[in-house]
């Protein structure tokens, strides 16, 4: 509290004398414009709800902390210095690839920064076989796609990030690799925790680094219970996170350590193969920006077992105002993360325009298969 009160970025939200409970929740990152860097900083991005990008800055000290946090999570999942690990995650301008790479180097592992660019994956697969790779850190979709490549490394560890690992996906990945996958729960804004090996689906939170709360349905904020995840990070001076709403629906319990279960995304959005999450609000915003008369609209995302996504949009509108190609182009550029997922070669798309059956309000339906958020 003392540090927050001395930081002028919080002077309005953390007045002197207030208690923790007086601090309002926020979905916005602090405004960084004009902030003098306390030391050199690196910047990453995440997509905001309006489709514009949000910048997340790390000072050198912040970066050391967030790398150490990730390294502790990886170590808890069994990654050791002797491992040869491929990182199949998005790298700059996105956060996870660089962060995981530096965390693995901190552990003393040998790291192959493979990325998520589909044209590179065959070469990465060959490299892993040549090196005798022992572990991969990736998203569930890319793990499935990578499993189809020939030749394939014999792995001892598989660490998943970026997407929910539902029981069917967990089984499919186990069948493909004969290795039980373990997850890290993280976002571009913060690393939350690692999966408890003895309780799949439950994540252990380090209370010395992250303070978690839940915003319950009744509007109250509590340290335990079911609700939207609210995080406060105990490190990070360049982009402080205080009572930040992550948009995830979770259940938090507290024993020796806080334990958290991911239950889904707020707003029942959809996710894409590289770990990109699209909220209902983002999709509504995109539909607003189309400025078209729209009736029923279905957006379906089929996650194929080959790791590729097939997005189908069925749009009830007047086709004299638009075309399938325009809608497809617009969706593929909905925000930079979606644009990147398309550019990396993981998403195929089909758009169908249908005439109005009736005049009514716009009705958006989202469908995600085979696992529903």
């Amino acid at each position: 509290m003392a540090r927050l009160q001395s930081d002028h970025r919080f002077e309005f939200s953390v007045p002197r004398g207030c208690t923790w409970d007086d601090i309002p929740l926020t979905e916005a990152l602090p405004n960084l414009d004009g902030q003098p860097g306390r030391s050199a900083i690196r910047s990453y991005f995440t997509s905001g709800s309006t489709g514009s990008v949000k910048r997340i800055d790390y000072s050198n000290a912040d970066w050391r902390d967030v790398v150490a946090h990730r390294a502790d999570c990886l170590a808890a999942l069994g990654v050791v210095a002797e491992d040869i690990v491929a990182v199949l995650l998005p790298f700059g301008p996105w956060f996870s690839g660089d962060n995981v790479t530096d965390a693995l180097l901190l552990l003393g592992a040998t790291v192959v920064p493979g990325g998520v660019y589909a044209p590179h994956l065959p070469a990465v697969a060959q490299t892993l076989v040549n090196l005798g790779a022992t572990a991969v850190v990736t998203t569930p979709s890319i793990a499935l796609q990578f499993a189809r490549l020939d030749p394939r490394a014999r792995l001892r560890r598989l660490v998943l990030v970026g997407e929910r690992v539902s029981p069917p996906i967990r089984r499919a990945i186990f069948d493909a690799y004969q290795v039980p996958p373990r997850s890290i729960f993280a976002a571009s804004e913060a690393i939350i925790g690692y999966e408890d090996v003895s309780a799949p689906g439950a994540f252990v939170v380090d209370p010395n680094r992250i303070f978690v709360e839940v915003l319950r349905r009744d509007g109250t904020v509590a340290p335990v219970g079911t609700g939207e995840l609210v995080v406060s990070r105990r490190y990070g001076e360049a982009t402080p996170l205080v009572r930040y709403r992550l948009g995830d629906w979770v259940e938090v319990s507290r024993g020796v350590r806080p334990l958290l279960r991911f239950l889904g995304r707020i707003g029942r959005g959809v996710s894409l193969a590289t770990g990109v999450k699209l909220s209902r609000a983002q999709l509504d915003q995109w539909l607003d920006d189309l400025a078209l008369p729209i009736g029923d609209i279905l957006i379906a995302v089929d996650h194929g077992l080959d790791g590729r996504d097939r997005v189908t949009i069925v749009l009830e509108t007047d086709s004299t105002f638009t075309s399938c190609a325009q809608i497809a182009a617009g969706f593929s550029q909905l925000n930079p993360e979606v644009r990147d997922a398309f550019a990396c070669g993981y998403v195929e798309m089909e758009v169908m325009l249908t005439p109005f059956k009736r005049l009514a309000k716009r009705r958006l339906r989202l469908l995600e298969r085979p696992w529903h958020l």
């Binding site: 800055d57 192959v112 070469a123 930079p336």
Partner: protein
Amino acid sequence: MASVIEADRVLSVHELVEAAASRAEYAAWRFDSVRTFGDEAWCTLPTTENGALRPGIRSTCAANVGDIVYFSSGTTGAQKSMFFSTRDVERVSALCARFASFEGIGPRDRVMVLLPMTLWGVGRFTSRGHLAAGAQVCPVDLHGGVAMWQQLASAIVPTVISSTPSVLETWAREYRGPTVRVLETTGEVLDRKTRETIETAFGGGVRDAYGLSECVVGVECSAEAGFHYWPDTVGVEVIDTCSDHPVEAGAIGEIVVTSFLQERMPVVRYRTGDLGWLTDDRCRCGSSLPRLLLSGRCSETYRLPRGVSVMPHQLAQSLVVFGCADVTLRLGPDMHVAPFVGPRQATIEIVIDEHGEKSAALAALFSSHPELAELVHENQLAVQIETRSS
């Protein structure tokens, strides 16, 4: 910058030789009499080529000695890996920090690093170098094309962009935004016309740098009269391509480099395949650092967008099991000079034995040359494989 270099002290000749002597590829080399870089004993050492380098055994006693592995296609066609220890990465990044300081980049700058962030080390080294120079750094990979770069640039408002000439030339046609003070380029031959196109569109000065996946070498100054290099970080020699002996001072020959920054996979007397010459003459910029000037390639090389250079015999070697008979680059109508940019302006035509399967050959080619797979994916290159009766 002195503190950065001191903290990441370069390897002495003795330390480098000691590291190299334990490696298989240097086992037959007679390092015993070498005292200094370039002495008589040094000049009698053999040279190395791409594909010959091997990682050594990792020290198990040192803490926090993670390795990072990057990609190299190799002249043999087979895939090779370049190993860098964490310390090596720090040293190479410290050299990149010298580059940045030499270009006048410092804490007031925001640097958009528009280079590959995976498989090849250039993006990581450049990003870390600028961080060490005190700048704010936004690493951005090449995926997504101009629209993506433009959107991110709007959020970053960079004062420096670091990329390849062909990427910046492509973007220059559509760049919208404030003046970018410094445009750093690397990876390709930068011709006068491309330099002018980039400087006109972005408003700042272009500073080119020279290096390979195996060894970062030097950087240009405002005089644009060759690449300055720091002899404590890289040893540069020019040899006669026939005799392998050093050429007369100032004469043209093949550039051979030795890195005093990389211990995990030592790079000693490495043949770059580039032709050029050296000069110690004081530069118009006032620097007394020696300079390297390039004049061409030793053998036929296809220079493609995004800093991709491949030699036809590399491609043929990677397809040798398919009975590869011929590799040809067919240029688009406007492709008389490098760099080659734009959609599908070049086609690589490959002829294999009639019994070879085209799809398998293509998969093998892309597995050993992911940079070509990337260019095809981005519609900047076409690859055609034909079969021919043996």
